[in-house]
Symmetry: C2
Subunit: 419 residues, 2 copies
């Protein structure tokens, strides 16, 4: 994989040129893209041309290639949202995140494959760890491109589990920030209360570095040894749905963290969080039926069966049910803030297990949707594997707005797992 | 003016056909549009064709013409955001609100003029009450089209004061709902923390009827006599910036409300609200510099001088300043919820006075931006005038999420003013 921090350091030191960094991506794309299918659009010539300029030579991402999930609108690339309804669509402008990447010196190398409208309807991308398995979704291409070493930085989005889950399945770092930390204007929406943009990179410190550069915020965790965090192992009410390997991975992560100096406790979540877990689907589907109103009403026959059935059923969700789900969410957010008053991060599975075999499903978001709903920062920490050698991701969940602390805890755990 | 409720009742009773309702709009457009300039795009043929169908004959807005501010993306009309950068822009799909209007039976008759990207940079529209005066902004065309009787319903948006102020200047009802009650996906954004879609109509009950139909929520206030509200007159710290006529209008509104049976008290807002007032510009401008990043970086010369200077200055706002403004906002929201525990609505000016003369400015949003920041429902109540006969709007501000109560209080006041 290409570490964004490593590339940035080499570019800053003059031992690698921006064009040389693009060449590293090009070589990996040449070797892997035909099999993996991570890109919906790609423009290496444009990237090399931009890498040759020096307008932003002092910017933090100077020369670094970035992939944008193909739900982010871009003026220089087609933007098709993973849907045949939008074949050849070319927006007039860039989404806000594309502007922020550019202002930070980053170079958008291509658009990465998204499932249809970032839904559960799978796309073509394969998992670089084992191409017979799904890379997860909906940010399938962003995760796979990082895992295959084709990009140092990729952006995606999470409405259920679309950042943390594919990162886990592909064995990379995935960071879903606090709700709205990364602007979503110019991104095709699915659920405005849940849609959250996120970052993929080789390691946690790389993802934090990219997020810091894009937001101009103090999020980096590579500039010193991470502090020992106060971690609470949260099995949640769906612990029984985790595979034995995943359960063992989470327990092992807790032991490794304790061994490295973390304070590790256990947290049993009260019943309000089961209510909130159920509230997620109500809010998501109520909004999706509206967010995709144009497509559902005028191009129903061009929507895939999984998404079409989801929207069919969503039509009957009432405003009262939606409002009740929103109120439940508010209560759960308050409850979590109180529960985590003396805790830096929760430790919990990133997914039920390793990436499922086949491409017919992108896997389940059951270990992600509660945290998306609550708006907390979540980080997939890579480093563990199952018996077949497929990655098993464990998840660090921080407090809302405390993204720096969550990233540092995740980096701490990542280092502990590597020891 | 065309009352949406009156048209809907006549259509339901069979005394007016949907095509006949469109004809009423067409006649007013024929008489006034050349002078007023409320429309950025208009398609009467399409509207008549849709009015002739009966697919949605039982939908609440069946046959009613709706204008959409030209920052809302539409597949059947150009969408130019009030900017020459987007001349001829034709989105591939409809924004969510356009879908909701259509599902409710409404017929989009045209796109209404917006100031440049819904900023303070004025557009061509004139005030139907006196064409030598501004209609206010940024939803200039939506307010003017209602006031000139060219539409029964129009949608706009408010980031500072762009719904309540033009409604006040044009002497119509303007309803800015609680933040996010109306979805903004597919709307060109200026500030994602503040942008709020809103409704214009002849009277408060018409606006509530339209909002109820679009959202499928219990927001109508026309089905019974409004309850007597508990109102608090809130002069706010900028009371001195209101004209003498406006001060007298607000005092008179309080007296009329009391006379009609309302409990009217006074509320002095504590200093946190002055901090919040100042926080508005920080949040708005920090986000606008990013929301318009593509346009500012690539088409700077095509941005008007008022907006360009605003963005130039916004570039230096730090993330720390922004975060501090967000924290101030959170505290002010909590403070307002406590202050209004026994109050249904605040009564305060909708604008410093009547519409200023000339088209060089759309007026000041100083009496609106605090409430936009706090996310509360706000309603301009028409009915009063200054000595020159120009409308003076007074504003009802409700509690977050209690839109029905705010609309009912506004309707109560509207009736009291008419007595």
């Amino acid at each position: 994989m290409l570490s964004a921090l490593d590339l940035a350091r080499r570019i800053a030191a003059g031992t690698l040129t921006p064009a040389g960094a693009i060449d590293l991506c090009a070589a990996a794309i040449d070797a892997h893209e035909a099999e993996i299918g991570a890109f919906a659009a790609l423009d290496l010539d444009r990237a090399k041309r931009l890498a040759g300029g020096d307008a932003l030579a002092s910017a933090p991402l100077h020369g670094l290639a970035v992939g944008l999930k193909d739900i982010f609108e871009t003026a220089d690339f087609p933007t098709e949202f993973g849907s045949v309804i939008y074949t050849g669509n070319r927006p007039r402008s860039d989404c806000v995140l594309a502007s922020l990447v550019r202002r930070a010196g980053g170079i958008v190398l291509g658009k990465t494959v998204t499932t249809e409208f970032a839904s559960l309807q799978p796309a073509k991308t394969r998992n670089p760890r084992n191409p017979a398995h799904t890379p997860g979704g909906s940010s399938s291409g962003s995760a796979a491109a990082i895992a295959a070493g084709m990009l140092p930085i990729a952006l995606g989005s999470q409405t259920g589990g679309s950042v943390v889950r594919p990162a886990a399945y592909c064995g990379i770092a995935g960071y879903k920030p606090s709700y709205k930390l990364l602007p979503t204007l110019g991104m095709k929406g699915f659920s405005w209360y849940l849609d959250t943009a996120g970052v993929f990179a080789a390691g946690v410190a790389d993802a934090a570095f990219a997020a810091a550069a894009i937001t101009g915020r103090d999020l980096r965790v590579d500039q010193g040894k991470p502090a020992s965090p106060r971690i609470a192992l949260a099995r949640t009410h769906i612990w029984g749905d985790a595979s034995d390997d995943m359960k063992a991975a989470v327990e092992l992560a807790g032991e490794k963290a304790r061994g490295a100096g973390a304070r590790v406790s256990e947290l049993v979540l009260p019943p309000i969080f089961e209510d909130a877990f159920r509230a997620h689907a109500i809010i998501q589907d109520y909004e999706a039926y509206r967010a995709l109103g144009f497509e559902f009403d005028f191009h129903r026959d061009k929507i895939g069966p999984i998404l079409r059935e989801q929207l069919d059923q969503a039509a009957s969700i009432s405003a009262d049910d939606y409002d009740a789900a929103r109120r439940t969410t508010k209560r759960a957010r308050q409850a979590l803030a109180e529960l985590m008053a003396d805790t830096d991060a929760l430790l919990t599975p990133s997914a039920p297990g390793a990436a499922p075999a086949g491409l017919a499903s992108t896997g389940a978001s059951i270990f992600n949707r509660l945290w998306t709903l609550l708006g907390t920062p979540c980080v997939n920490v890579p480093g563990l594997s199952d018996k077949a050698g497929l990655p098993l991701g464990v998840q660090i969940v921080g407090r809302f707005g405390r993204d720096r602390v969550a990233l540092e805890a995740a980096h701490f755990l990542e280092r502990a797992l590597a020891d």
